[in-house]
């Protein structure tokens, strides 16, 4: 089974010219023993490698999944892949790696910040990078936030409940979608359900809408009050809100939830057929 670094190298070799490839190997060699060479090399990547979209086919994705479960390269570019490869190849391990990564972060431009955060699930000593991951998940720059939260197994595996809950809530505040977050259903918890319902009521009081995706983290833990919210959405909501409410009701084991869902037979049927799913709904928003 190939290591993630070997896969990144293989993909990069398909897309960059031989001179850029040589530059990468030389830089990695120099960077193993020198912080300055690593910092300079990482900065120079955009000049040497460019930033085309990274081409990753179905076989590559399967190899990636085998090398690192949950690793998703959707939306990656060659400069991001090259920066992550340099770190994996030359960054060292343990505390030495963590210190170098932290130093790189402190002088990173916004594209580098995104690359480093996307690399989190691949880096050695994942527990040492929690601070950086949480800083990223607190960012007001949506692409930076999404580099941590979206399509990454890192938060699912590493965030405690408070960090997880606030990442989900922050997604709503920066306008990021929920469906690309890995582990949403597995990490759902009663406290998050409460936080999200409070948020929804706050928004409604201000006359503002909430994303129907929010109910995904509420359904399983819905109590009578939450069912009241869902009932209202089923009656008064727009099409997407009704779909979100129906999906949440389907997740809820309480008999009243099933009765509310049965009152909308078309939606109930769409859920049971699998035509209406959280990801499908999220993609339409």
């Amino acid at each position: 089974m190939a290591r993630p670094a070997a896969l990144l190298w293989e993909w990069l070799c398909r897309q960059v010219d031989p001179a850029a490839r040589d530059w990468l190997t030389e830089t990695a060699t120099a960077a193993k023993g020198s912080d300055a060479a690593l910092f300079k090399g990482v900065s120079l990547v955009h000049r040497r490698i460019g930033k085309a979209d990274l081409s990753v086919g179905p076989e590559d994705r399967a190899a990636a999944e085998a090398a690192r479960p949950g690793w998703d390269q959707t939306g990656w570019s060659t400069d991001q892949a090259a920066r992550i490869w340099l770190l994996l190849e030359a960054g060292g391990i343990g505390e030495a790696f963590a210190v170098r990564l932290k130093t790189l972060f402190s002088s990173a431009d916004v594209a580098e910040t995104i690359a480093f955060l996307r690399g989190l699930p691949l880096f050695p000593g994942p527990e040492r990078h929690l601070f950086l991951a949480r800083e990223g998940a607190r960012s007001n720059m949506r692409p930076v936030f999404e580099a941590v939260a979206h399509r990454s197994p890192y938060p699912r595996e590493m965030f405690d409940e408070n960090a997880w809950n606030h990442m989900v809530l922050k997604a709503l505040f920066v306008g990021a979608a929920l469906w690309p977050i890995q582990g949403l259903d597995e990490r759902a918890n009663p406290e998050l359900a409460r936080i999200l319902r409070d948020y929804a009521h706050e928004r409604w009081a201000a006359g503002r809408p909430v994303t129907p995706e929010l109910w995904r983290c509420v359904g399983r833990f819905a109590d009578e009050e939450a069912l009241g919210d869902l009932e209202r959405l089923m009656q008064e909501g727009d099409e997407r809100e009704r779909e979100g409410a129906a999906l949440a009701l389907a997740d809820c084991p309480l008999p009243r939830a099933q009765a509310l869902l049965a009152a909308a037979p078309e939606l109930q049927a769409a859920v049971s057929r699998g035509d209406l799913t959280w990801t499908g709904l999220g993609r339409t928003l």
């Binding site: 300055a36 910092f39 300079k40 900065s43 120079l44 955009h46 000049r47 930033k51 085309a52 979209d53 939306g75 570019s77 400069d79 991001q80 402190s106 002088s107 990173a108 431009d109 916004v110 594209a111 580098e112 910040t113 995104i114 720059m141 692409p143 930076v144």
Partner: protein, 305 residues
Amino acid sequence: MFIDPHTHMISRTTDDYQAMANAGVVALIEPSFWIGQPRTYVGTYIDYLSSIVGFERFRAGQFGIRHYCTIGLNSKEANNEELAEKVMEILPRFALKEGVVAIGEIGYDEQTALEDRYFRGQIELAKELGLPIMVHTPHRDKKRGTQRSMDVLEEHGVAPSMVVIDHNNEETVNEVLDRGYWAAFSIYPGTKMGNERMSEIVRAYGAERIIVDSACDWGISEPLAVPKTAALMRERGHPEEHIRKVTYANALAAYGQSGQMKESDWLEPAAIDQRTLYAGNSILRGGQEPRIETPGRDMSDLTIK
């Protein structure tokens, strides 16, 4: 399309970004400078530089404006030797970032020995990295300070074509152009240069190597200085080609020498940038006519949603 090649957006509001985008500004350059009061720690300097390659770039992109910057230790803070030494050490970590189009703004403030030392040190850094240089000419003793800046650059063997001398006026422009440098003018109300004077300077010297900027910052300044100067020049009968050169093309040619600023950055941005950092300019998409309006607030609309 306009480029404002000297703006301190870190001190400006979203109203300003909106007004600049509406008026047709597609790209701007944020030179490293002081922030109105001196910094006292290298850590705050690192965070400042990190902001102008990070959050500020993101902020500009939201309005469809491409944000570039220059990296340097400014002349005022060069007088704090302890700080300056540490800043010189960290500058190389920022100078090669994407979108860094020059070392600057560097030069003289009071023309002290320390200012001279760090000016020279940074000239050498620019040479080593192959980057253009943006020179801040002093407010006080300007003519002498400008000459001295050019003397030092030539002593270090820098090609004048790689240097933009900024904040010129009627007293400095002739020599700066004669010696082969790019001559930039900051249209800054009350102090540096007004745009009626600017129009006369272009009439007298032509449009070659002349660059107009706003130098808008934390003081009373005008983020629409470049589009307004273009409109005023048009009203006063300057040829379109001259207007385009001084408000767009010359800045692109000068700072484009860094390899970090290309017209395609805003006309055909990379897919990854469109997904993340650059909202696209509605004027380039044919969405609206450029319009110059006074940014700011008034009391006529009482509703805040």
